[in-house]
Symmetry: C2
């Protein structure tokens, strides 16, 4: 019997690779994306295309009101996305692009859908190496969410099978993620990672996300197939 899994899909390099990995492990994937007051909607368009191309059984786009809380450069107009930061700068502190409790909210929706579907597996493409500044990308957060999820739901009462949060990228470098995806025939030209793209959807090449991505391709000695401004 095919196992169902709910997968958080942003349309970026990491979540697209995670989708390809979940499929290669034999999961029937239910992909979930969020519109949350980010400045650009091209991510959603990318995620729709990716869900279809990489064989998600179903794709749901959930609109959430995260922007109303403010406090992040990704959701507030007034805050600028930092550009051309050094590795050392990226490695320290919590970046201004951190969105309060974002992964907690995303995983909570995934949990609700999993419970309705009767799925026990949730995939999220978090990475502890590149995003060391984001508290909700750390393995200890994921472990705590998994424990909570098993108490939060009807599963927790019934006992038996447990919900599992899969984070197949958590210890990989960006270069390793790209190699994994390429081995699974991911076309990274489909993906979008930039925090601050042009209105036409071209990546800026200078934000943390673009820099990490470009470095990953450089380390694989190949060009990034995505278009830069």
């Amino acid at each position: 019997m095919t196992k169902k899994a709910v997968l958080l899909l942003s349309g970026g390099l990491d979540s697209t690779t995670t989708l390809a990995m979940a499929k290669s492990q034999g999961f029937e994937v239910y992909a979930m994306s969020f519109v949350y007051g980010q400045r650009h909607s091209h991510e959603i368009e990318a995620s729709r295309k990716i869900a279809q191309k990489y064989g998600a059984k179903e794709h749901r786009v959930v609109t959430i009101d995260l922007g109303a809380f403010g406090g992040s450069a990704l959701t507030e107009e007034g805050l600028a996305v930092p550009k051309d930061r050094s590795d050392a700068q990226m490695g320290t502190g919590i970046p201004i692009t951190y969105v309060p409790a974002r992964n907690t909210i995303f995983l909570s929706y995934a949990l609700a859908w999993a419970e309705v579907l009767g799925a026990y597996d949730i995939f999220i493409g978090v990475n502890a190496l590149d995003y060391s500044g984001y508290p909700d990308c750390r393995p200890e957060f994921i472990g705590a969410f998994e424990s909570m999820a098993n108490l939060a739901t009807a599963y927790g009462v019934a006992g038996g099978k447990r919900i599992m949060i899969h984070t197949p990228l958590i210890d990989l470098t960006k270069a390793q993620i790209i190699r994994t995806g390429l081995s699974l025939e991911v076309d990274y030209g489909d993906t979008t990672s930039c925090y601050d793209p042009t209105p036409e959807g071209k990546a800026c090449g200078h934000c943390d996300a673009c820099q990490l991505r470009l470095k990953g391709f450089r380390e694989n000695a190949m060009p990034d197939p995505v278009g830069y401004a």
Copy 2:
């Protein structure tokens, strides 16, 4: 200095009592309510009135897409709200009015707002006695959420002060909750608990929520000031 707290406010008897308790403990209360595909909007109107009357500093109403997941009598048109169940029936199993991962999603939004406000305290009026069938009303769930919350956020990285999830009603009977609220001058005529009210907002008197509430007033030898159909 006044301590800020985020409080989940449904407009029902429990959350209104919780609001009065948080205020009496000296918290500056930021109340948060949710529109989530439940069949009736009179709960939101009640919560607006209650937030103002009982002195919330601010009140936000967040629309969420929980209904899209289905699976509960409170969010799906096709499922009937159970009526006139015995105490024994109410005490066993997970009721059909359970909404998948609801409190997890609500608390995740509260956590996001708390982080933006710089608040360390979150109040939720869950009750383990009357709602023993709801997995996400149990103390072990609340404890697990609190642990997760402290790892999910910037707080968790900074260390020091910890986020606390307050559940002042968790061990109280409905009769004790009502006595507590009355001592804090709560007018329960403002509150609404019914799962299946008339279009005019009158309580049905027969669903689990109405039955528990009526029993609580009976045990205090007083009439429920709310209007029944």
